[in-house]
């Protein structure tokens, strides 16, 4: 738990114009060792001067590090949210697979009954559709899964009409998880777009 003094210390640093994030590192004895500020849109050297004044008021021994986030890649270049594989399950009694995915806190569950590898891939596609991805059923005509147990799983997705095959590869101790991850890998470019929720 932070002390009230440390909370006010961080508040003062964050109140400096342009400061996005503050990290306070401690020594083994609990003393503050270094303060790292992530800043953007302002003059980092000016922020460093003001931050050093504040740091010296609270912890005279601490060093100050200022990193400029405005030099990093722009937010438009990277998707902040992506599809995540949450859970896979296989019922050996009926051969059914279940794959659960999430996107931005929304859950999608897909089921298929074609064994662990083909079933895992098909269940993944179903889960994506439930998440809101508009994957037309006619888009995929061939799904081949080639593996030796313990080796990576390769999934090939072939468009119904024109277009190149899409390949995905993944390895896991669990065949369903490997098939699901490989399917997501194959659809990677397709999944960079946000799903359209119904």
């Amino acid at each position: 738990m932070m002390s009230p003094t440390e909370e006010d210390f961080e508040l003062e640093l964050r109140s400096l114009s342009g400061v996005l994030n503050v990290e306070i590192r401690h020594r083994d004895n609990g003393d503050v060792d270094a303060v790292t500020l992530i800043v953007t849109g302002q003059d980092p050297s000016a922020i460093r001067v003001m931050a050093t004044q504040i740091v010296n008021l609270y912890y005279t021994e601490a060093s100050v590090i200022v990193e400029d986030a405005s030099k990093a890649i722009s937010p438009r270049e990277i998707q902040a949210v992506r599809v995540a594989l949450v859970r896979t399950d296989f019922n050996p009694e009926n051969g059914n697979c279940e794959v659960e995915l999430s996107y931005s806190g929304r859950m999608g569950v897909g089921r298929a009954g074609s064994g662990q590898l083909f079933g895992g891939a098909e269940a993944t596609l179903a889960a994506l559709r439930e998440l809101g991805y508009n994957i037309p059923f006619y888009l995929l005509t061939v799904m081949s899964v080639a593996t030796v147990r313990g080796w990576p799983v390769i999934v090939t997705l072939r468009p119904f009409s024109e277009g190149a095959d899409m390949f995905g590869i993944a390895q896991s101790d669990d065949d369903v998880a490997a098939a699901a991850a490989a399917t997501l890998d194959a659809l990677n470019r397709f999944l960079t777009k946000a799903p359209s929720y119904q």
Partner: protein, 269 residues
């Protein structure tokens, strides 16, 4: 069922008010502030066995603010990626939206309340204590002094010729001078002392365990820390000690104020 399945089952369950309950529990042991934000982020990480969690807040006074679970640093790439879109971002991305929204709202409230609490006690120009905090601290110090005999010294400081500086060099320059004086005061006090701005160019310090003769150390440090600002402004101080001079806060203040203006060579206002 393995651990991952357990986590997924939790994530897919209907929303339960665990978050509000844990936040209330947290509130009962700590004040609502930046520490609270880190606490609830850590709670989220523990509940869903997350590898990472970040909350992005956008505040009128602070602009965009990013907090990472455990108080860890955020890389410039991550800062650029998350940008200024408010929300709670988790790895893996399994926390229900309703819980992330509730957490973001609570964190926004915590940051606002922390700022409100800080602003209520501090002078906005110099970030040292304001008159209200000073009055409370002086009252508490005199009570301790009267009851237990704990000595302290009240130091009042008044800038010399500040009005002329303001009139000739402008109010912006004057404000900057006040900031520098406030900063010098903060650097000059020891842990346990209190520095405050109690008026336009009037400052006060409560020096703990000082009997009136020890304030010279403080004034020496203040002159040193003023640095180049001394070219533009000087200061005069008046002191009074408790319990020696008085244990009444108003009387103690009056004595220090009278000594200050005596030094200034002018009559009390």
């Amino acid at each position: 069922m393995n651990g991952a399945s357990d986590d997924a089952e939790k994530a897919s369950q209907p929303y339960e008010p665990w978050l509000f309950q844990t936040m209330l529990d947290e509130l009962s042991v700590s004040e609502l502030g930046i520490g609270f934000i880190y606490s609830v982020l850590d709670l989220l990480v523990d509940r869903y066995a997350l590898s990472d969690a970040v909350v992005v807040l956008v505040h009128d006074s602070f602009g965009a603010q990013l907090f990472r679970a455990g108080g860890g640093a955020i890389s410039v790439e991550m800062a650029a990626r998350l940008g200024t879109v408010p929300g709670v971002y988790c790895e893996p991305d399994i926390v229900p939206l309703v819980e992330r929204d509730a957490m973001r709202t609570a964190c926004q409230l915590a940051l606002s309340l922390h700022l409100a609490r800080f602003s209520a006690a501090h002078d906005p120009l110099t970030n040292i204590a304001n008159r209200r905090s000073f009055d409370s601290a002086l009252l508490a110090a005199t009570v301790r002094s009267a009851r237990y005999g704990w000595a302290f010294t009240l130091v009042l400081a008044d800038l010399d010729g500040f009005k002329i500086v303001n009139d000739t060099l402008g109010h912006a320059f004057g404000d900057d001078l006040l900031r520098q004086f406030g900063l010098a005061m903060r650097r000059s006090v020891r842990s346990g002392d209190l520095a405050a701005r109690i008026g336009g160019d009037e400052f006060a310090v409560i020096l703990s365990n000082a009997d009136g003769h020890d304030s010279s150390g403080f004034t020496d440090r203040l002159r040193t820390h003023l640095g180049p600002a001394r070219e533009h402004v000087g200061f005069t101080i008046g002191t009074a000690s408790s319990p020696r001079d008085s244990t009444d806060p108003a009387e103690l203040f009056r004595i220090a104020d009278a000594r200050l203006y005596e030094k200034k060579g002018m009559n009390h206002r």
